[in-house]
């Protein structure tokens, strides 16, 4: 019982780290511009498919492909933001939702066109396969890597947001966009950079997710709900909130699948609806 509990906790934390990578960018950009970008997971798929292509077709090592996944997704995010999204910052929630869902549909079709509809995989190096013995228990090496990656990203993000000038601008813009503009902060530029970084992190998450959940053309829609739950529960613009919400969701999803498999995803949706009703702006909202 205890061993299985620890195992579920470990898997849940690893899964939560994945969700954190996928959703933190959306949380911050939503907090800054109130722009509901439902196509965030399409960016994750950019990273995922770049990794699949690089490792399978060009023989790159998996770990070297991860930075490329980040860069490719960030570049696509930048282009999207500059060409399309910036027209819609003052549009209604509904227009933003519809527009970005349109992007999701288009991206799904494009991925299916180029990669087909089968689940893709990317070969991981031997030191990330197998498991590691610790305290008399075995932990999957890849999940340990995932946890380390998630923690590292979280620490870098928090440090950058708290201790750099750019981070201060982003925090100001999240707290009060108009006031930040009034103080001479170039919110548009800060937003552009944040959006690209958030997209890049999603790409990294998409690449890291291949080993755990696989990658197919419907990823953008299937994981959208999870990402939105993390954002809505964690509160907009809060990295700590996203982190906590992602861990909570990861662990409870794993526990639900392990202990109550007949409930399916029911438990997750129930938790989300209950939390939203209790705190509509999220558990750790800055506003």
């Amino acid at each position: 019982m205890f061993a299985s509990l620890a195992g579920v906790l470990f898997d849940g934390v690893a899964y939560g780290m994945l969700l954190f990578l996928l959703s933190v960018g959306l949380s911050v950009t939503l907090g800054m511009m109130n722009f509901v970008n439902l196509a965030h997971c399409s960016l994750a798929m950019v990273g995922g498919y770049v990794t699949v292509s690089l490792t399978n077709r060009y023989g790159w090592p998996f770990v070297a492909a991860l930075p490329m996944a980040f860069l490719a997704a960030a570049a696509v995010a930048l282009v999207l933001e500059r060409t399309l999204y910036r027209r819609l910052y003052r549009a209604s929630d509904l227009d933003q939702c519809l527009f970005t869902i349109g992007i999701v549909f288009i991206s799904i079709a494009v991925y299916a066109w180029f990669y087909g509809t089968v689940v893709q995989s990317a070969p991981t190096p031997s030191y990330l396969r197998g498991s590691v013995e610790l305290f008399g228990m075995s932990f999957a090496a890849y999940r340990l890597f995932l946890i380390a990656l998630g923690l590292a990203v979280a620490i870098v993000l928090v440090a950058a947001l708290e201790y750099t000038r750019f981070g201060a601008q982003v925090r100001a813009a999240v707290d009060n966009q108009r006031m930040a503009r009034g103080l001479g902060i170039d919110v548009d530029r800060a937003f552009m950079i944040t959006f690209a970084l958030g997209g890049g992190l999603a790409g990294l998450g998409g690449a890291a997710a291949i080993e755990i959940v696989g990658l197919d053309h419907a990823f953008a829609l299937n994981y959208l709900v999870y990402v939105l739950i993390v954002v809505a529960v964690g509160g907009l613009g809060s990295i700590g909130g996203s982190f906590a919400a992602a861990l909570l969701l990861g662990v409870s999803d794993m526990a639900g699948k392990y202990y109550f498999p007949w409930l399916g995803a029911f438990l997750i949706y129930l938790v989300m609806v209950a939390l939203l009703m209790w705190r509509p702006v999220g558990l750790f909202a800055r506003r």
């Binding site: 519809l98 527009f99 869902i101 349109g102 288009i106 829609l221 029911f266 949706y269 129930l270 989300m272």
Partner: protein, 307 residues
């Protein structure tokens, strides 16, 4: 009723004589139009954005299906009971829905929709789960059998659509409808001038749920099948696309959108669904960027320009 409207409703009878082999499709269009009309009441007129409206459609569909499965296949009674059941669900959930706006509202409607879909999937003893509900048999409607050509199905769907359209039209042009538009335009000011905003929103949400449930029941009765698809996120998204395409906040928006969308989908039926969604996506992007009020909004802008 203005001449243009009368001409439109007269034209809906044309499929009986012009394209008798497409009556099944015409019946699907009428059902989808009714569903879109119900979404229009809450989204177009009251400003409640919902990504989970299929919950009420599916609840009505399953209620009608379960009734006819247990030897209660009389369509009219089934339709009324299904609509009432969906309305009850709508009334209960409306207490949660109307208190939220923006992202929380979108997430909550999405969450409730997914919750119901998952519940139906889990309760396979009742709903048949992923296999769909087996043994749905609809009795003849007032003596007319539901035939293969869909003659009864289309007449039935069209009649229900027309009746409920008149109801919606009456609601929209009443002081209550005006109050709803006021809430949509300025949610803070309406309570300030003494309008019971939340009660209004609850009322219209319940009415919309009744209509969505009726649409779901129609689908069950005319096709004699119910599957989990009636509750899916895809159906909620589709109806949103249809309404936006036609023009939200206009009585005919959902109907025009349903005609365009369903006929186009039928024409491209041979296409792989993934690629169909490419065009849907492109359509959404184009509508948001270039046609913010839908096809009807664009048409009326064209019509007014020369003046």
């Amino acid at each position: 009723m203005r001449p243009l409207e009368a001409a439109f409703w007269a034209a809906t009878l044309l499929p009986f004589v012009v394209t008798p082999s497409y009556l099944a499709l015409a019946s699907q269009v009428a059902i989808t139009a009714l569903f879109a009309l119900s979404l229009d009441l809450i989204l177009g007129y009251a400003g409640i954005v919902s990504l989970g409206h299929a919950a009420y459609f599916g609840f009505g569909a399953y209620t009608a299906g379960l009734l006819s499965k247990h030897d209660f296949g009389e369509p009219l009674t089934g339709l009324v009971l299904a609509a009432i059941a969906a309305g009850l669900l709508g009334y209960v959930t409306s207490h949660l829905i109307v208190r939220f706006r923006h992202l929380a509202l979108i997430m909550l409607t999405l969450g409730l929709g997914l919750l119901l879909a998952e519940a139906a999937n889990s309760a396979s003893w009742l709903t048949g789960g992923a296999d769909g509900l087996q043994g749905v048999k609809t009795a003849p409607l007032l003596g007319f059998k539901f035939d293969l050509y869909g003659r009864t199905a289309y007449a039935y769907s069209l009649a229900v659509l027309f009746l409920l359209f008149l109801v919606a039209r009456r609601i929209i042009h009443s002081p209550f409808g005006l109050a709803l538009r006021g809430i949509r335009e300025n949610a803070r000011r309406m309570p300030a001038i003494g309008a019971p905003s939340l009660a209004h929103l609850r009322k219209v949400y319940t009415i919309a749920a009744v209509m969505a449930g009726a649409a779901g029941a129609l689908l069950t009765q005319t096709t004699s099948t119910v599957s989990l698809e009636v509750l899916s996120f895809g159906r909620s998204a589709d109806v949103l696309v249809i309404l936006i395409l036609g023009g939200a906040g206009r009585l005919y928006g959902g109907i025009v959108g349903a005609i365009i969308y369903m006929v186009a989908r039928d024409q491209f039926a041979s296409m792989n669904p993934q690629y169909w969604y490419f065009w849907v996506g492109l359509l959404l992007v184009a509508v948001v960027l270039f046609l913010p009020n839908g096809v009807l909004g664009g048409l009326s802008a064209l019509y007014k320009r020369p003046e």
